[in-house]
């Protein structure tokens, strides 16, 4: 119970610091511009306007939220160490596992708020063009949130051993890209013979299959995200959290 109270304090502090940061406002303006761009693409699609407007907008929402989250997370722990804020935390009775859980929860809350803001902008644009709420829209946003949760927790892990925020950003972006080709890579790995196949298969288990959460692609085609995807998402988040905790527990400041 005490740990939960501490984690909540860290999470809300992390969330409010992110939201108060000028970077958040800048990204919100950028998000509005990016989502608004989907109106232009929709107009050009003529009779498929509703679908293009929905799909294009959701894709932009995902990429903008990804960029925002990775920029924030990759420098989060590094900044706390550089400004010595972390001294004031770890010299207190705050277990490192609780601090990490709080930081992760704070980052997820911020990503969730960013998604909600962009979703509201997108839906208002759809309404402006005379279209209603697309079917499974909430599922698409939920899928994007799960993807973000997986990559945010991975970025926390990377930030604990990488030497700069830029390298965390690059490594996490590579993982994001690989995650969208996990099924194709597994298909190829199954066809690789002998030892090479085994090694490739083991390596692929370390890559999250982000296609599982791609309800965005299916939203226009009226197909929902299965509720079963919560399990792999939670597993990848937990694995990244435990790996990050292993590093954080040994880290000196």
């Amino acid at each position: 119970m005490k740990d939960l109270f501490l984690a909540r304090a860290v999470a809300f502090n992390s969330f409010s610091e992110s939201v108060r940061n000028r970077f958040f406002t800048l990204f919100a303006v950028f998000a509005f511009t990016a989502v608004y761009a989907s109106v232009l693409a929709g107009v050009m699609a003529v009779d498929q306007e509703a679908r293009v407007l929905t799909d294009f907008g959701l894709a932009l929402i995902e990429l903008t939220a990804l960029a925002y989250s990775l920029f924030g997370v990759s420098s989060s722990l590094l900044k706390e160490a550089e400004t010595k804020t972390i001294y004031l935390v770890f010299s207190r009775p705050v277990p490192r596992r609780v601090y990490l859980a709080g930081k992760l929860a704070g980052a997820l809350l911020t990503a969730g708020l960013m998604l909600a803001i962009m979703g509201a902008i997108h839906l208002s644009l759809l309404a402006f063009r005379g279209f209603g709420l697309p079917e499974f829209y909430a599922w698409a946003l939920a899928g994007t949130f799960l993807k973000l949760a997986v990559i945010i927790s991975f970025a926390f892990f990377v930030s604990l051993f990488s030497t700069s925020a830029v390298s965390t950003l690059v490594i996490s972006s590579i993982m994001w890209t690989l995650g969208h080709f996990a099924a194709e890579a597994r298909f190829m790995a199954e066809r690789l013979p002998g030892f090479k196949g085994i090694v490739f298969n083991v390596f692929l288990w370390l890559i999250p299959n982000l296609q599982l959460f791609n309800a965005r692609d299916a939203a226009g085609a009226a197909c929902a995200l299965g509720p079963g995807v919560i399990v792999p998402a939670a597993s990848w988040v937990a694995a990244s959290y435990l790996a990050a905790l292993w590093l954080l527990a040994r880290k000196e400041f």
Partner: protein, 245 residues
């Protein structure tokens, strides 16, 4: 016999800096043994790079010793039971510029396990003790260096620690702020709190501490009591200069 707040026995701390080929090692403190007594003000003097900050970080569990043992109130410094009894002021503490002092203190109070009315009272008391009350409406970005240092001290006092570890508490402050902080530390000590402070200002340590540890290149060069430096011609400064030469 006075109770022991902190004990170092044969402590060594070596930093490892990874390089392209292998690693570079630097021993910051070696074979360090001393005790800090409960309720006493102990000063830590040394030149830059003598290992003062390393010692403070070892006490607060921010660093782990390479060899030897550090105990804080009989526990490991990483133990939450030890941390609950220690307040730490690092050199040049940072607070988010957009927050007000009470909001910053509320956060650190929560991390110290305080909540509800206890938290509000602790914040109020820490702000009053450190003279921050008249500045409660200002944001941290409007604070001078002296006020930031007071805020740093206030966060260390929130949970009424038995031991205060202060790294350069008067560094860069104007004479009036130094005078106020000195008065505050003396008051805290009279309440029974042990204070361990490092400083480059020999005169400040001389005014506050009853015992001083002098570190030279990571080792303890001398332990001097108030009676010793008061009896010595030239006082603590002469003893310090002779120890570091």
């Amino acid at each position: 016999m006075t109770a022991c707040a902190v004990s170092f026995s044969g402590v060594e701390k070596t930093y490892k800096r990874p390089r392209l080929l292998g690693a570079e090692y630097h021993t910051a403190v070696k074979d360090l043994s001393f005790e800090l007594r409960a309720g006493e003000i102990t000063g830590l003097l040394g030149l830059n790079g003598a290992g003062k900050t390393t010692v403070m970080k070892l006490i607060t569990g921010l660093l782990f010793p390479t060899a030897g043992q550090v105990r804080v109130f009989g526990c490991s410094p990483s133990d939450v039971a030890a941390k609950a009894r220690v307040g730490f002021l690092p050199e040049l503490p940072y607070f988010p510029p957009q927050v007000k002092p009470a909001a910053a203190l509320m956060y650190y109070g929560r991390l110290s396990g305080l909540s509800g009315a206890d938290l509000s009272l602790a914040v109020e008391s820490a702000m009053r003790k450190t003279g921050l009350e008249p500045h409660a409406g200002k944001r941290v970005s409007e604070f001078s260096k002296g006020m930031l240092q007071r805020l740093g001290l206030a966060q260390a006092l929130l949970h009424k620690p038995d031991l205060l570890v202060l790294d350069e508490p008067v560094s860069g402050l104007d004479p009036l702020a130094i005078h106020d902080i000195r008065g505050l530390l003396a008051g805290l000590n009279s309440d029974g709190r042990a204070i361990f402070l490092s400083s480059h200002s020999i005169s400040e340590v001389e005014k506050l501490a009853s015992r001083v540890l002098i570190m030279v290149r990571g080792a303890l060069a001398a332990t001097v009591t108030r009676a010793q430096w008061e009896a010595a011609p030239g006082g603590l400064e002469t003893i310090f200069v002779e120890a570091v030469k």
